[in-house]
Symmetry: C2
Subunit: 473 residues, 2 copies
């Protein structure tokens, strides 16, 4: 399905020499960006998220993008850049990524400061190294390598970049932003660089992402913490109510038990199940990467199907009552839950939200009041396996990795589906991260050789896309 | 069952005049004690718990106790005092209370600093005002009023006091302490002043307390927080496991579902159920005191039976994953539960611990590891309704309150049963706190007029006990 690179390919030599020459400066620049703690979920880092946008904008100008703008939103700013091709008939490609990162603190289990990048054994460790600063940043050297390869002064495609600042907070203003700037963002295809590959040895192209709906539920019992001796056994306990909600989320087959949750989902085809099954999946190794001690999930599905193509409900946080040292014999006044739901093609986040709200209200006992707040949802996204632009991505990756590229999906979520909806353009995924990179976890890292393969793949991609675009003249 | 006071009773006039005269100094002293934040559960307050013991010891010396000692333990110290009667044949009574308090912070919902006592509308607000410093302290003025009433220079009973410093931490060293000092603590009866009454209008004597077993359970899933997109739906989530444990604690009839939990319990007699049912119980008012919006508990039992005479399982705290602002799409690495079990007569805490440990191990799914740690248990305690010393307490209370005294039980727990076991003495309860006092809650208070009724009741009690003691010469 993808073309294996010819070792004698002089283009490959040219690109690799160019990358070698600029590698040190590229990595120094990336490290400088990673030092900015652009945590969008934490209000105290709002200033850092803005600094991160400005830093990237300056770097894109240096790269050569003639138009670079920082776009404010009611939350964190996005960065937009355009580098038009000198061929007016060239297709337009919009690259998407994000410059905000997950929360991180040394105390969470990091071996080193999460915002002080260090290289150890060919790996660059820092929050955002893989998710997503590293994968945004390979496009800067990538487009320069493309020009070096082709001898062009402008890219072979009209190249646009949109790098948002709220992805890790569920992209609450992203849909509005892209609707407002729909004309300037117009593209024939979207390239999302916010996903990963199967492994170092099995490079892959992702064809879809799960969506995400999340909510916070506050449960209220007595107006204050009350004595569990005086009142215990005779009034409803909100921590118990929270726990019973979570326990009721799944049935005995680990299927989500919220009525209506599965409405409309697109089931896997036999071909997709076969493609998944062909991948060299080693469950022991996968568990090691997950740092988990067992698999557990929906009956009737493999682990790969569960993480890529089945919707889920997970508890991301639960809290209530006394969590300090020693004991405190109370019935707590309140408890809270953070739940998130991964969605697959065919599921509508609005429908899921309605179903969850109705289900929660129905589950709670008398005397437990509640509020439920949903974040902005991210829609699921799926690209057809036979799309010509997807084949260009697979060819460019194949040249960089010198092997056949296989297909995966991504269990995580991104605003790719919003871009697909608003811009009416197919979404392609180009990512070089691997599962052990530790997204959202302590000691996040990116493999330096893979990061440079990302640079290399983009160096080939723009020419391939321009050449093979269905409407190419 | 108790004698109503004669309004013309000159003893009553004498005692009340004495109390009026010393009331201001008594309250000033109590306020000084309440300012010491003797929170035994919080290591940073260890020094304050020691200060509290020393403060009380000094005050008991001023009161006239010829022997006052601070007894160290491996945790917080207790205070022991003796005032022998000049009648060598008098019975010996040991008064029990505690000088440590529950954790409290202004931010928990206190209207004023919990360790800066204030009087508003006849109520003294402070952590420990009712539980238990106020109720220990009424014995100081009480014994002086007893001497004033009788013209004696020593009490009519050999009076001992033991005021421990770890009750709010489950009295981990109390059993060992009283076993070591068994000879010096020897008594014919124990008077526990660490309970409450039905209400201001319905003074009561408590005949028993529930016991307490508590544990903390840590549940471990992946070795670190992992991305809920990459791994969600395919590995066990320890927060889900914690919630499912809590949900499984009770069956559909709100009975505790841990096998063996109810083994050996002494069921209520028809007379006890009738005495409970005769009390002027107003469920709406009780819910207001509980600040709860509904009742909820074991099927087939009234609310009073549930809180006084039925064992319970409650979640005091639950935590796991991300509880900060915004979202974090993780499967958490760990979760924890603090559970407590109230026990009734006939239940053995060791048996309950074994049952809970076996049940937890049996409930958890593959891939979730756990630890479970039990605190020191408190045994349940029950005094026969027809015990002569219990009748003395009811008479003394009846004179102070000028009405018939009724009988209750106490849902809370204290080390009374250990005293009963080790000293082989009946346990009586003398408390003036009422349900709205807010034990363990924000804005804990004591009603000043009830506090002084406590003083008055003890002024009558020692003479009545000496006179009516079964072995009195």
């Amino acid at each position: 399905m993808s073309k294996t690179a010819d070792p004698a390919d002089s283009a490959v030599s040219t690109v690799r020499a160019y990358i070698d020459e600029h590698r040190a400066a590229f990595l120094d620049d990336l490290a400088a960006w990673l030092r900015i703690p652009s945590v969008s979920a934490q209000p105290e880092h709002a200033h850092d998220v803005r600094r991160s946008a400005e830093w990237l904008a300056a770097r894109l100008e240096e790269t050569g993008f003639p138009t670079v703008e920082v776009w404010p939103t009611p939350g964190a700013p996005a960065v937009f850049a355009v580098w038009p091709s000198d061929d007016p008939h060239a297709p337009t490609v919009l690259v998407y990524g994000h410059h905000d990162v997950q929360p991180a603190a040394r105390a969470d289990g990091w071996d080193t400061d999460p915002f002080e990048p260090v290289v150890r054994e060919g790996r660059l460790y820092a929050r955002g190294a893989a998710d997503d600063k590293g994968q945004v940043f390979f496009h800067t050297l990538g487009v320069r390598a493309h020009l070096a390869l082709t001898g062009r002064t402008t890219p072979a495609v009209h190249l646009k970049l949109l790098v948002e600042g709220e992805e890790e907070s569920g992209s609450p203003h992203f849909r509005d932003l892209i609707e407002r700037h729909r004309d300037r963002l117009a593209a024939d295809a979207v390239v999302v660089s916010d996903t990963g590959m199967w492994s170092k040895d099995t490079p892959t192209v992702c064809t879809g992402m799960r969506g995400l709906a999340d909510c916070e539920i506050e449960l209220y019992g007595p107006d204050q913490d009350i004595h569990s001796g005086s009142f215990g056994g005779a009034v409803p306990n909100p921590a118990t109510a929270a726990a019973r909600l979570v326990a009721a989320l799944h049935d005995d087959h680990a299927r989500v038990a919220v009525p209506g949750f599965y409405d409309g989902i697109v089931e896997l085809t036999d071909r997709e199940r076969a493609l998944f099954a062909e991948l060299p999946f080693d469950e022991t190794e996968w568990l090691r990467t997950a740092t988990s001690y067992a698999t557990h999930g929906e009956a009737g599905h493999t682990t790969l199907e569960r993480i890529w193509a089945r919707p889920t409900a997970e508890v991301n946080g639960i809290g209530g009552g006394y969590q300090g040292p020693g004991g405190k014999t109370i019935i707590p006044s309140s408890a809270m839950l953070k739940l998130s739901f991964r969605l697959v093609a065919g599921q509508d986040p609005d429908h899921v939200e309605k179903a969850v709200r109705a289900w929660v209200a129905d589950q709670l006992p008398d005397g437990i009041r509640h509020t439920i707040t949903f974040g902005a949802a991210t829609r699921p996204c799926l690209t057809p396996l036979d799309h010509p632009a997807l084949r260009s991505v697979a060819r460019a990756m194949g040249r960089a990795f010198e092997q056949e590229i296989r297909y995966t999906r991504e269990g995580g979520s991104g605003p790719a589906a919003d871009l697909q909806d608003v811009l009416d353009a197919p979404v392609l995924f180009l990512g070089i991260s691997i599962p052990s990179d530790g997204w959202h976890a302590p000691n996040e890292k990116v493999e330096l050789d893979l990061l440079l393969k990302g640079v290399e793949a983009t160096a080939y991609l723009w020419g391939d896309l321009a050449e093979h675009w269905p409407d190419a003249h």
